[in-house]
């Protein structure tokens, strides 16, 4: 299964990955329209974290043996057919047990207080939006040989 590699050496902290993710997961995919100030925007699935001058963008690893899937109280967190880990938004109740167990801290509490928010690996795209948007190849797609 292909995976996103985050290279902390070359992340420039521009957060264009977050912008691209939010645009991709908005109803209207146009960058300007989707992210107009004042309009509600989805939480990005990849988030840039900082330590001094270093930065890197962290997203869900779509683990085969995902602790969040095991821990999920409602069965909302599950593996899709393509192997990716996905949140069933209708089923999630916002207990945050997934946030409790994810060792990458890759799951965020949705602002509505209900739905766990994380990377869904951009279903339908050839390459995740964050990887395409990164101007310095700090996010690359590792495919199996």
């Amino acid at each position: 299964m292909a995976a996103i590699r985050a290279n902390e050496e070359f992340c420039i902290g521009c957060r264009l990955c977050e912008v691209a993710c939010m645009a991709q997961h908005s109803a209207c995919k146009d960058l300007v329209k989707a992210l107009r100030p004042g309009r509600p925007r989805p939480l990005p699935g990849t988030v840039v974290e900082w330590e001094g001058h270093r930065s890197v963008s962290i997203s869900c690893r779509h683990c085969e043996d995902a602790p969040c899937v095991t821990a999920c109280l409602t069965g909302a967190m599950h593996h899709r057919e393509d192997g990716r880990v996905e949140v069933d938004r209708e089923q999630c109740v916002g207990c945050w047990t997934c946030v409790l167990v994810c060792p990458y801290g890759a799951i965020r509490r949705g602002e509505d207080g209900h739905v766990a928010s994380k990377c869904d690996f951009c279903p339908g795209r050839e390459r995740p939006a964050c990887v395409e948007a990164c101007p310095n190849r700090a996010l690359t797609l590792e495919v199996e040989a």
Partner: protein
Amino acid sequence: MRALHHVIIGNSAAAIGAVESIRAHSPRDQITVISEEGEHCYSRPLISELLAGHVTLERMRYRGPAFYEERGVKAILGRRVVALDRDVKAVTLDDGGYVPYDRLLLATGSEPVIPSIDGLEGPGVHTFNSLADALALAKAAAGARRAVVVGGGLIGMKAAEALHHLGLRVTVVELAARILSSAFDQAAGRIMAERAAVAGVEIVTDNAAAAVQRRLGQVTGLALVDGSELPADLLVLAVGVRPRAGLAREAGLEVDRGILVDERMATSDGSIFAAGDVAQGPEMITGTRRVLPLWPIAHRQGRAAGMAMVGEPSGYAGGVSMNSITLFGLPAMSAGLLAPEPGDLELLAAGPDAGHYRKVIMREDRLVGALAVGQVDRFGILTGLLVDGRPCGFLRDRFSEPLTVLGLPPQARAERLRV
């Protein structure tokens, strides 16, 4: 090798974990699930959401409607196992039914502890452990105005929150000096209690139920051991749970508080396994065997048991206590120990608001306990470090804020960034 017949007593987190891992490794083996409850497997922790009206019955389902059929699982629902014959390797049901097994999983869960006080018989007194309990309580709450919840643990507090949401006036009576004592420490418990009080739920600590007061058969109040009385027309008993290990005890398996199992979830009988609330299995911090009645642990143990039942290694080394709860809008999480032991280092941070509190407990350089109220973002990074068991000296300067992967020491960081 011929196909095995796996029998699972129970239909909750552990049972489903076992079903899934057995089926993942063996398309041919037979699986039978026997459950006292008549429903499709459901998320037990959601009963408080159901009570509050936040979820429908439909959403309570833990897996898809065709779960059993899809996996070729025979589900005997609404039947209780009354006897276990280890020599013959078979269980007997309450309707006389007889089910032989090659491997047996006891995932019978836990049952509520009922305090031995007067006046319990009759309407108006409810336990809060099952879907049936929740439906009954919801119905009773519709016509009630004042409720008293006996027990300020996780179950009691969630019940109290739900009843409050339904418009009842609620008082919680807790034996210990603090609420949520199984999951949070003194300081966190106090913050959560204050939050509940601000929301309008009364918390009474250092007290216990003495007797149920009735008039004309209806509940009118609860007398407490200190002599005071709380008016009420509805009582919820949530003082604790205990493993439902009766069958195992009668069958002569090694049972302490729960059914004793190793890291393969195997009991003292090589063909019998136990998982979930009923099991007493390896706990990673104390290195002893403990009952960890928590949904994620139960499911993980069920998976480990299933692997062992088909003869596969599961890589399960044990569990740790871990909790995530949101009460009256305030989230809180904990993992591992709640209090330091002699020699441990306990580091606390509070603020900036009254509702924020974070704590870690270090043993030498190992993280053995972590807790956060309010600022719970990315708590899983702490849980991961606790489970890893590797040196975490850097936490001393970092624990008061959510962690980052970048802030971890090089080896831990490299492992997490590796593809």
